[in-house]
């Protein structure tokens, strides 16, 4: 426990996100605002879904175990759907913002594009989701104790960290996919996002059988990453070039 576990788990969970933040978001004030607003929207969706779950639990018999389990499942599913609904609302808001920025600019080009906003919004959702899942665990990891002393899994902190990391990535890619689907009216992309979110959250019901939750989530994460990359205009040639450290031939425009 204590410091090694704390630092290890926090860097596993938030390291990649921190890198993304530092290199792509924190330089630009507009992106920071979009990020914080995205985090806020996720928070509001969580609030509403907790409200619904809380009312359901209070209205039901606390001793009835299967009912409570069923209410929990319902709570998770409802929360996922509400998160996606708020992602859609946020898309609407950002759309209006981009239109406003375009009318204000002198060359008809807004300083930030909807694709960049999609990425940052997804990252905001992911960071807030990850933070809410992980921060209390990290605070507990700082203190004394033995993990799993009552017979639970000893890998609790580690798997939570990995799960948090995959959720942050997934939210980012879902943001890109979802916004692209809204922009181009490809409803199947939005449906795919909702479906994969439900699958990933549902797979966590396999915990502590971690092979049932972590592996599907990571596979889905790689799949959505590839899809989002292709939708953002990437191609394998550019990927290979970037891996070799060469400049890509067609570098993307600053506004795109």
């Amino acid at each position: 426990m204590t410091l090694p576990v704390f630092f290890g788990c926090s860097f596993i969970a938030f390291g990649p996100a921190l890198g993304l933040l530092l290199f792509t978001v924190l330089r630009d004030p507009l992106r920071v605002i979009v990020l914080v607003a995205g985090a806020f929207f996720w928070l509001v969706s969580l609030l509403l879904s907790s409200l619904v779950w809380f009312i359901a639990v209070k209205a039901s018999d606390p001793g009835d175990e299967p009912l409570q389990k069923g209410l929990l499942i319902f709570g998770v599913l409802f929360s996922v759907l509400l998160q996606e609904a708020f992602r859609f609302l946020y898309y609407k808001l950002l759309r209006k913002a981009v239109e406003g920025l375009v009318t204000l600019s002198e060359d008809g080009c807004s300083p930030i594009s909807i694709q960049q906003m999609a990425y940052v919004a997804g990252l905001g959702f992911g960071l807030m989701s990850g933070a809410f899942s992980m921060i209390n665990l990290l605070a507990d990891a700082l203190g004394p104790g033995t993990v799993g002393i009552h017979g639970d899994s000893q890998l609790y902190f580690l798997t939570s960290a990995f799960m948090t990391m995959v959720m942050i990535f997934l939210h980012t890619f879902w943001g890109i996919l979802f916004f692209h689907g809204c922009e181009t009216q490809h409803w199947w992309e939005m449906a795919a996002v909702i479906l994969t979110h439900l699958i990933v959250s549902g797979s966590t019901f396999w915990n502590p059988l971690y092979v049932g939750s972590l592996i599907p989530s990571y596979l889905l994460m790689f799949a959505t990453a590839a899809w989002a990359y292709i939708l953002s205009g990437g191609c394998t040639r550019n990927l290979l070039r970037s891996l070799r450290g060469q400049q890509s031939e067609t570098s993307p425009q600053p506004g795109s």
């Binding site: 879904s49 002198e106 605070a139 609790y156």
Partner: protein, 406 residues
């Protein structure tokens, strides 16, 4: 007073947010109306921040626009004199739109320039609350050194505290490096917030937070509100703002001028001098009108329009009253202290306050009149505190115990 002098006065004037009960703050509401009526022919002024925030950039945007149109009301501008009289009308339209876009960019930049100190203050408060148990105990002597088991003799203690206080007094009330002054203001805001968190009873703190937001709203928006009246009185007397009550984030410029290094040094020097020398400057309207112009005087070359833009880009800072720092930190600190050890509540309040600040600035850009900055943030913060503590926490705890992810 000619229209030109009036404009100079307004350009010198800085907006303040409502500070706490002990302080007075100024707002440029009347100035805003005055200014809007003066430049009604042009595009509306952007982001003249509300009474908590200073808007030197709005003032300078106005003067910039006035210079571009050849200054319909101002006979001559001492510093830009002959550089703009020949501008074609086409450029003016472009420049106006450019300015609006620039101001929008600066709107985002200024939001970030406020996010950073507010976040720092909150981090200091939360870190102290979580680590020094004094603040969550009901009684007990405050002995930091005992808590951290540090041995220190009285002479060293006296020396350290004396220097801390003396350097603080010097760099806040006289001259000093900008970052040192900012650090001191953040520190004293954090200490003040900690005092409130420790010594206010449980529910008094929440009620006071709510009441002071309502007071802020009334005092700034009502026609006979005390802050509006204070503003008008201070405007008539051309009084500078008490420096210990404002956090300033003025940037140092890096634009290539004739002598960039000496110019930048002069800027920071004159930024500090401006507070003291405002009265002298007012008597001599041909000399300077604001921090920008003061700094331009050592470089007598007439800058091109692009340089003027860059100057104004780099030099605009934003000022925020310390009362807002204190009350934001009180809210977040109380969330950290009393929310049954839950970090989610603290995080939720933090995000809520930042979004409230963002929304307030947005409303300001839309309504273009002085607005109080406390109500929206504090309302969001309170709503999120109570709802996260009572609704979200059980849900997240249940999820975490089953290791479910949503």
């Amino acid at each position: 007073m000619t229209a030109h002098d009036w404009q100079l006065t307004e350009a010198l004037y800085e907006r303040l947010m409502m500070i706490t009960f002990m302080n007075s703050s100024d707002s440029e509401e009347e100035a805003c109306n005055e200014r809007t009526s003066l430049i009604s022919a042009e595009s509306p002024p952007a982001a003249s921040y509300q009474d908590g925030l200073q808007a030197p950039e709005a003032a300078e945007t106005q003067t910039y626009r006035k210079r571009h149109t050849g200054g319909s009301c101002s006979p001559s501008d001492a510093d830009s004199g002959n550089s703009d009289s020949g501008l074609p009308v086409r450029d003016i339209a472009v420049d106006n739109k450019e300015e609006e876009e620039l101001t929008l960019k600066y709107g985002a930049k200024h939001v970030i320039m406020l996010f950073v100190p507010v976040t720092l203050c909150m981090i200091v408060v939360v870190a102290t609350i979580k680590s020094v148990r004094f603040y969550t105990e009901k009684n007990g002597q405050f002995e930091v050194l005992k808590t951290y088991n540090v041995a220190m003799d009285y002479p060293t203690l006296f020396f350290v505290i004396w220097n801390f206080g003396a350097v603080g007094m010097i760099c806040i009330h006289w001259k000093g490096p900008l970052h040192l002054q900012q650090a001191y203001l953040i520190m004293i805001s954090a200490l003040m917030a900690l005092v409130f968190i420790k010594y206010l009873p449980e529910w008094s703190a929440w009620v006071i937070l709510g009441a002071i937001s309502i007071y802020d709203l009334i005092a700034v928006l009502c026609p006979r509100g005390p802050l509006r009246m204070l503003v008008e009185t201070a405007q008539e007397r051309n009084e500078p703002i008490f420096p210990a009550l404002i956090y300033s984030s003025a940037m140092v410029w890096t634009v290539g001028m004739a002598k960039p290094d000496s110019a930048s040094r002069d800027l920071t020097q004159q930024t500090w001098d401006s507070a003291e020398d405002m009265r002298e400057i007012n008597d001599n309207p041909a000399y300077v009108e604001s921090e920008i112009s003061e700094a331009r005087s050592p470089a007598p070359t007439h800058p091109t329009t692009s340089l003027i833009e860059e100057l104004e880009e780099e030099e605009r800072g934003v000022k925020l009253g310390l009362g807002d720092f204190i009350f934001y930190s009180v809210l977040v600190g109380k969330a950290a202290a009393t929310a049954s050890g839950d970090w989610n509540t603290t995080l939720a309040c933090f995000v809520a306050i930042l979004i409230g600040l963002c929304l307030t600035l947005l409303l300001l850009a839309v309504f273009k009149k002085a607005l109080p900055a406390l109500p929206i943030s504090i309302t969001f913060g309170l709503v999120f505190y109570f709802s996260t503590d009572n609704l979200v926490r059980p849900f997240m705890d249940t999820l975490a115990s089953h290791q479910l992810y949503i």
